[in-house]
Symmetry: D2
Subunit: 425 residues, 4 copies
């Protein structure tokens, strides 16, 4: 009996009952059961190394011991689980610790908003407040941006398949070229010209929204110099700068916020995914106090008070009390960068191009369908790794930040085996 | 030292660090700590009876023993927590049980979509699929509808304060009068005329979306006859009928789906809030198989695989294996209705009007500010109850469905005391 | 040789060279050559009585002697023909005479704007200024309204075929039921309820725009009482009232402005069609001085200075120096009403319903296709008369206001013959 | 008594009765009375040389003798003046002559649509048909484009003041950089990249619309090479190419259509302004037969049948029977170019830059306010010349094409005197 047949019967429930919209269960056709650290196991007991980390949600790995313990104790004590935006003990502690551990040492002053527990919720709230504060409606986003799937966030997302899914035209946004978008062309010069020319057809925007490293868009990392220029443009024209750090934040690139090395101070920051520490739904929007002009309840949502997430989130923050975690990520990022470059050099058939920074890296494979084939093969060999980019052309590496050197090397080994196998066929 | 001062210092963290958008922590200025069944306790040990149930998220009460146990065991066994839409054991079990316990006995055939874990996510997904399937862009919603806070859902929401918060005009939607909206006027006649007249200015819509009982809009319960007529209109013009059962579903009105007594079979159903059983973020969209025309990943989201929620959700479904739960809710609903009518009669100063059905009821208080005053007083006396309606004019009763008669009576007693106190001042 | 064949060769140029969008040359397949008063002649010398008047553009009849003379003299003297919005003698005279003859005696105080020479231009300018002045974006229009074919005007037009032609969804507008739209329902009660309920989903609009008699929409004449109520609603909520008097104005209903009998004083009035007197393109927008908040050139257009039209327009105004013209129109309107009622009574097969007022009347024929058949037959018999209404179900009578009793009777005779012929077939 | 006071009393009517939107009567505060060829006279008998030509509407000069005669005869004979899109003799002759004289010799095959008599009408019709034919909604326009003031045309117009006047956000359009928009950047590379990248955020458009020489936008003339590349892009992606030749067409740049030297064959062409020959409102839309997919009356308008304009238009076409007119324009264009370059060289204080081609030229004056000062002084000295560009920084030369060398030299002399005077102050 072949694996395919086995998988088929294993996946029957999903195929028959779940909507055709499901996607990951197609590429990884198995039933996952357990997970710890950087490993997962399926119901057949097969082990997988995780180079995916829940699309950046599991920066602290699966089932961190301390988080498990705190969550279990809280439940055992009948701690309040669901609380909208009522005051609760875990919410209070998270607020205090986030301010103390994250904001203060970075000289950042933000009000913390709980906008609903998903990435698209924090983005929608960021767009709303920027429009309210400025009284303007246009938002500038960038080519290959991904900000979410609800209509507001989708409007600032580049992917045409996902935009088309809206079923309605998406408005109030202008797409500008991201750093290094067109060869030999200066995307900042374009952006500036459009803004300074009153005849450009582009209105003065409420905000510019960007990811410093575009995760879904193909692991495109903006240069710090480019980020500084965008920041300067925002200041010159009184435009709010929104950094969507949903995927690149929470230490993914080596610092808590991905924009720290640029030395900029965005007006609004969106965090979700790993902010909840344990993989539980949670999101926050950071807003400079002068722009926190919400009326009570002007943006709300049922799941703004996920107390189990608050508990894990607070525990996760403890990683940031010293510089050690940051240095460790950067060291592993360097190791990964070296490995990536070596692979590209060794396998010219990939027409590979290194992308990204920190533990958010990838290889753009400029051969149609090859990136997908590599990831499919890697899955069979026990490595969870997915593609990104408009044509799924980038093999994306997002291991948990807590992965050890052994795990990293073992994953890279499987990757190389998969490349070899797929390119030799 | 007064309570106000105490509360002030207690709430300091929220006031200073959290965004001005927070709302419930203003009306109920305390820090909640524990909860069980229909009761909550704050950090001072004060006890509260819950007539709010997390805005309809805690139909099965706080910290149900069986759910607690299953969740704790799962965590202890390093069960996979976060899984996007990968196959996992809890997801598989939920799918199978939902089909078996809920769909089959009701002769309903739906594909189940996990659209992201919040109400607004399921609504956005419903609007998208309706537009895709029909190739039309307009959606008809109703006056005083509430469907969520992201731009797509907000477009079909009536509340002007919340709509204004969008910061952009909201399009592709037409607001029609809900049942009994204008005195002595027939809202169905109006709706039909707009659809049958090609000069009406209202395009043939992709969908009609509605709540059978409008929760946020003022506990306006549509008559079954009205629902049947809307359903017939949808069939006549090939319009998809979307029932947003986020608040009224999951047994709130006495049957699992709120539309069951009308004998209709909607094309798309949105569920969230209590579907997760335990208060953890979860949502599903039910789509008739012939309309499940999604491409893989056409709508996605990071938190579609909240396995702790799936475990509690599956446990919650066990309540529906027999009719007993349904009958019990209806009996308590009758008790509540009797009490409500008595209060209205006894306190004519309220200019009260009974609203709602099942355990989703309210008193519309036609005196400015009085409903809010009653709820504020009730909080001081240990009852959690909130207002709804466009002018916060309705005192809304949403006790957990598992409340016992004693709890219901005790809550009503506090309510009456609050009414007496507030109207005597 | 049949007429059809003759017509075919006659119409060859139009069929072969002109776009498929042409419409009138299909219903009236001949080449018109000359026209005088209420008569037209084609190139074959056939005479036609005009019950159409250029869709209300030729209220003063074809080729009025005095207008002809003034225009010819002006051209002969090398008078400036095209002048954008530069000062010219004919523009100056028109402004002065319009103020003196039309505005002053009616106690109306308006600034006069030249918005481009067509109906849709004046409507677009009216919508713009209302939105600018109020800072709101929504405009309420009515079912079966027709305001023009450019995107702004089309947004407030009801006809689905024409709206669909936009190729984009039309926004920022809400369609409300016109007077007597749904049997036994009170359209004012609906409108008021939507405005007073902050949860209705309809934003406070910038303006309400309406035709007092809907020409294209089926000769639906609003009652004066209804107009007064709409006016009161506008005043109550500080909404601008825009009367589109493009077709119903210029005396068509018996008074210069169609709203005069209602005793209301709209904030903005749109005039075009017969304002130019002679059939030459011209339009004006009347704006209350306090709302004339345009910046110079904020709305412009190449043909705002059609001096030949200004000359004819000024000459046309001389008709309004006394009440005589008005009384004469009303008398002919009564005569027409009597005739219409007689026809309806005499030919029950029509299932006819009398519509309109003044010299803007019609018969709604509630038998599919019959109205069109009558008009086609009338053309063959020498009467130019067209249909209107969402299903082309209304035979519309718009004779030049200067028609004499003989012309009116002769036209009605042909009409009756056509009805007889068509219903007897 | 000063000129200012005189003008004031002369302009009283316009100031008091006309809307604040008036603009040309501010810059040229006099009352124009007569005009012939390239000259105008005001009511005081002052003579002006016309370097403006009704913003490109009077290419054939004022009051052409032959046109005058034909129009007068037509009126005298009671020719039908207003005819919507009914067949008439002048319409027939225009259609036939346009095909014979203009289309055939250029190997162009278009259906001719009469969309309403103004530039914005033809643009709105072009956008509609492109969207209908392709089923797409986005239209790409260019920076500093000007296409008209109704909402559809305004959406593809760049000027922020005019866009803002809409009072609503303008949608379904994307503004791309025109030729040579950003120094040292390749606008074609940018456009292509956005189209070929499915993640760019820019949807495949229905059409690209452009002026080959942007009149209002600052006399920016695209290179033929650039036009060819845009044309190739349109072909590659099945995008309709719409050339808005309202201002640059009708011989303005030296050929009947401005795009002829590029050797391209646009899918849709918009003509207005000088198409009417005499300054009377008229517009046509040329549509390739395969795209002429209108339903009858899908776009309409009251003034599509301005027969006086048809008569003058047909007469104007006779200029194009041979190449002579074209050669003559080009010769005068060369003369003008030489003069412009000389002025720029002689007056470095202007920081001048030559713009345009044919008889559509200008000097961009890179000193704030100087261009306007020069035009104001020129008016005082008897030359009608206006500015264009987003900051009114370009002195624009649009003399009638029939101007003789003497007129051209006299106008340039006044211009130089004005420059001298203004820059010496």
């Amino acid at each position: 009996m072949t694996t395919a047949v086995l998988n088929e019967s294993k996946m029957k429930t999903f195929e028959e009952i779940e909507s055709a919209v499901r996607s990951y269960s197609r590429g990884w056709p198995t039933v996952f059961d357990k997970a710890k650290g950087y490993k997962l196991w399926d119901t057949d007991g097969r082990e997988y190394i995780d180079f995916f980390a829940g699309a950046g949600t599991l920066n602290y790995g699966h089932n961190d011991d301390a988080m498990q313990e705190k969550i279990i104790n809280y439940i055992k004590n009948d701690g309040i689980i669901h609380s909208l935006d009522m005051g609760t003990t875990p919410r209070k502690e998270f607020l205090e610790q986030f301010k103390e551990i994250i904001l203060k040492p970075r000289n950042l002053d933000y009000k913390i908003m709980f906008p609903g527990p998903t990435g698209t919720n924090t983005v929608e709230s960021a767009l709303k407040i920027a429009r309210k504060v400025t009284g303007r409606d246009t938002v500038i986003s960038f080519t290959n941006a991904f900000h979410g799937m609800t209509i507001g966030s989708l409007s600032v997302t580049g992917n045409s398949f996902k935009r088309h899914g809206a079923g309605v035209p998406l408005h109030h946004t202008v797409s500008m070229p991201f750093d290094d978008y067109v060869e030999d062309q200066d995307s900042i010069a374009y952006l500036e010209r459009f803004l300074e020319d009153s005849g450009s057809g582009v209105a003065l925007p409420a905000a510019i929204i960007l990811e410093t490293v575009q995760g879904e868009g193909g692991i495109n990392a903006a240069r710090m110099e480019w980020l500084k220029k965008v920041d300067a443009i925002c200041k010159r024209w009184d435009i709010l700068l929104i950094i969507d750090d949903v995927q690149a934040g929470n230490g993914r690139t080596g610092t808590f916020f991905s924009f720290e090395p640029a030395g900029i101070n965005p007006d609004v920051v969106c965090l979700s995914k790993s902010i909840g520490g344990f993989g539980l739904p949670m999101a926050i929007t950071l807003i400079k106090p002068e722009y926190d002009q919400w009326g009570p309840g002007e943006h709300n949502g049922t799941f703004r008070g996920n107390n189990l997430a608050f508990i894990a989130a607070t525990e996760a923050l403890s990683n940031w009390k010293t510089d050690d975690f940051s240095k460790d990520i950067q060291a592993k990022g360097d190791l990964l960068k070296t490995a990536v470059n070596k692979l590209i050099e060794k396998y010219p058939v990939l027409k590979g191009e290194a992308r990204g920074r920190g533990l958010m890296q990838g290889i753009a494979v400029h051969v149609d369908g090859l990136a997908e084939a590599i990831c499919a093969e890697a899955f069979k060999r026990g490595l969870i790794v997915e593609t990104s980019g408009p044509a799924d052309e980038v093999v994306k590496f997002l291991p948990p930040l807590v992965i050890d050197q052994e795990g990293l090397e073992k994953g890279l080994e499987i990757l190389e085996d998969s490349i070899k196998y797929v390119t030799n066929k």
